[in-house]
Amino acid sequence: MKRTITVLVNNKSGVLNRMTGLFARRQYNIDSITVGVTENPTISRMTFVVIVDSMENVEQMIKQLHKQVDVLKIKDITDEAIVERELALVRIGATPQQRGEIASLAETFRAQAVDIGKESMTLQITGNNEKIEAFIELVKPYGIQELARTGVTAVNRSSKISTDTSRLTLIN
């Protein structure tokens, strides 16, 4: 199963290394990581999407993360009301004749053309994982020349925060 976990950490060099090192040696499979500084410049926010076998596995992972001195707060937000976004840049083959067709296709997904060349164009799309997957699937026939994805970043929605406090009682 996929779980989305957000971690607030001290914005110091090497902290990401501590996190990923911990994941690697304990065999936790990371699907994606995004990191960026928060409104407080001394604190960074990391969003991990991990693939695990069981909830026990997630719990153990969170507990291990908690042991890191530079970790301030951890939340498994998978089951909460969240906004999650990923960004992808896709350069696909596009002859001048195909451009119109691709543009209308992009419009349906609210993707934007950010670069146009003679025989190719680059599209930018943001959204959740499924939307991006679907979009990539759709543009595949044109020939994907290059693809860059950011991985998921996420925050709680301002309302309807679910309160499943039964889990992870040891640390939350």
């Binding site: 950490v9 001290n10 090497g14 290394n17 501590r18 090192g21 911990l22 040696r25 026990e56 719990e59 153990q60 507990k63 291990q64 908690h66 042991k67 890191q68 001195v69 530079d70 970790v71 301030l72 040891l170 640390i171």
Partner: protein, 576 residues
């Protein structure tokens, strides 16, 4: 960021704080932490610090290999419960302490390790004697630091000590670049430690304690499993009172030995791969298992699918990550063992009748004790350990390496008091026992210290006999010489068709002559009838002694839970 050279003068005047070099700041900080002894080895990148040690005349123990220094610091930490401090240089000096750091991490020993580092401007250039200690030790330290500015040095030392001793103890490394140890800065040790991300839970949750007590009232076959966490929390008294009050049998892990008196009726001995039949069967048949401060190591549990199959399990641990890590736990209690036991003792007194269970457990103890067969004049290692116990009346500190001699000592030496038993449990480090004994003897000059080692392990760190010679430390080295890597040989015999691939040592050094070279008294014995006398002579001598005991070469450690099986199918249980 204040540049120290400019800022030093006005601030110093204002705060009446002295301008110091980084090395001075470091040593002042160590002194403020109450550090009495430093174990170490000098080298290029740490020279300014060593210069300061020279000027201040601090108590520094010079090992002959960095591994010796760090294991000695571990031994010191184990006995004093204070952080062992080890200072080494960059590159090879630093990488030589890696084993000891990993060992301290596995066995939760409080340690502060200071490694020299090349100057900041050449870090990352593969400079002479540069090693990425931050990267290397990240997975084997509780936390590590690299000092990037003189202004953060004092506070970092303070944080390092705080992290090393609080919560679950562990090793903390400070990597100190040479230029920073030479720069000028201000020694300010007034600032309190502020680590918002590091807040160990000491007081357990009341509800969880109540839940444990409620369950306890129904338990017909309760067992306490006690690990090193009880010793770290200095909770032996509470534990003993709790076990006595409710008459619960106590099984101990290898590292938990001494937390509960070894001579008590309720004491079942060590559990696990080479544990007693009584301890393992008690775990297997238990309906309520309370684990205090043990991490359910695989050497303890055997195959998890057969572990305590009928038991509801409660786990008290200061490290929440240990709870539920290996074994499913119904009642988790995060907190310090001392606090938890005090709360449990205060709880209600009524418990289920379990006289029958206690009788069953003591029957197991009586019918299946640890055993060995005598064989004429051949010295059996088990008897050697029993005799060491008798001669010292248990009033000794005992250290070991890993392997057969370790298991025989754990089985046959009774530890009646805490902090008398030092062994490399988690990492299983050969070469650990002897230098650890040196640290222990420095920490506890009054007690006899026995370094029980194998002939192979001793050869990994024997150069530390230099320290014994220099300080005339009365450590007694007991070499259990079976001319082999005993445990490896045992496994090859049992699991690898008796193919003894590189585990036999047909040619041995003359240990007595080695001792002589270091000006240490040597005693050698290979006949059972001479054993008592040899031990007595060893213990009677006021200085260090190397006692070489040639034991039965093919003796195996029994009983045994073979890998992949459960506690109920022990091999080599024998008597009845």
């Amino acid at each position: 960021m204040i540049h120290s050279n400019e800022a030093a003068t006005p601030q110093a005047a204002e705060n009446k704080q002295a301008v110091c070099t980084g090395s001075e700041i470091l040593l002042k900080a160590l002194a403020s932490e109450g550090v009495e002894v430093i174990f170490g080895y000098p080298g290029g990148a740490i020279l300014p610090t060593y210069d300061e040690i020279y000027k201040l005349g601090m108590n520094h123990i010079l090992a002959r290999h960095e591994q010796g220094a760090i294991h000695a610091a571990e031994g010191y930490a184990r006995i004093t419960q204070k952080p062992g401090v080890c200072i080494v240089t960059s590159g090879p000096g630093a990488t030589n302490v890696v084993t000891g750091i990993a060992d301290a991490m596995m066995d939760s020993l409080p340690m502060v390790v200071i490694t020299g580092q090349v100057a900041t401007k050449v870090i990352g250039t593969d400079a002479f004697q540069e090693a990425d200690m931050l990267g290397i030790t990240m997975p084997i330290t509780k936390h590590n630091f690299q000092i990037r500015s003189i202004d953060e040095l004092a506070q970092t030392v303070k944080e390092a000590f705080h992290i090393a001793v609080s919560g679950r103890p562990g090793p903390v490394l400070i990597d100190l670049p040479k230029d920073i140890s030479e720069k000028l800065g201000i020694f300010d040790y007034e600032e309190p430690v502020h680590l918002p991300g590091y807040q160990p839970t000491v007081k357990p949750n009341k509800q969880q304690i109540r839940k444990l007590l409620d369950k306890f009232k129904e338990a017909k076959r309760p067992v306490l499993l006690v690990g090193a966490g009880v010793l770290h929390a200095q909770a032996s008294e509470e534990l003993t009172a709790f076990a006595r009050k409710f008459q619960i049998p106590v099984a101990q892990t290898l590292l938990g030995l001494g937390a509960f008196p070894g001579e008590e009726e309720l004491h079942l001995g060590m559990a696990g791969m080479h544990g007693t039949y009584a301890a393992n069967m008690a775990l297997h048949k238990s309906d309520f298992l309370i684990n205090i401060g043990s991490r359910f190591d695989d050497r303890l549990t055997g195959a998890l699918e057969h572990f305590a199959p009928e038991a509801c399990i409660a786990h008290i641990d200061i490290d929440p990550a240990e709870i539920g890590k290996n074994v499913h736990v119904e009642i988790p209690v995060v907190g310090d063992a001392k606090e938890a036991l005090a709360m449990l003792l205060k709880g209600s007194g009524a418990i289920a009748e379990h006289d029958e269970w206690r009788k069953q457990v003591s029957d197991w103890k009586r019918d299946y004790p640890l055993w060995f067969h005598r064989d004429g004049e051949v010295i059996k290692p088990q008897e050697l350990i029993q005799k060491l116990y008798e001669h010292t009346k248990g009033e000794a500190i005992v250290t070991t390496d890993v392997g057969q001699h370790q298991m025989w000592t754990a089985q046959h030496f009774k530890f009646n008091k805490p902090n008398r038993w030092i062994t490399s449990g988690g990492l299983g480090t050969m070469g650990f026992g002897f230098p650890a004994a040196i640290g222990a003897q420095i920490a506890e000059p009054e007690l006899p210290v026995l370094a029980i080692t194998g002939d192979a392990g001793f050869q990994m760190t024997l150069q530390e006999m230099s320290i014994l010679q220099e300080l005339d430390l009365p450590v007694k080295i007991v070499i259990v010489n079976n001319a082999s890597l005993g445990m490896v040989r045992q496994w090859q015999q049992r699991f690898h068709g008796e193919r003894y691939s590189h585990s036999l040592f047909p040619i041995q050094p003359n240990f007595a002559k080695l001792a002589e070279a270091y000006n240490i008294k040597a005693v050698k014995v290979d006949k059972l009838s001479m054993l008592d006398e040899a031990i007595a002579e060893t213990l009677a001598h006021s200085g260090p002694v190397l006692l070489e005991v040639c034991v039965a070469k093919e003796e195996n450690v029994y009983p045994m839970v073979c890998p992949g099986t459960g506690h109920h199918c022990m091999e080599g249980v024998e008597p009845s």
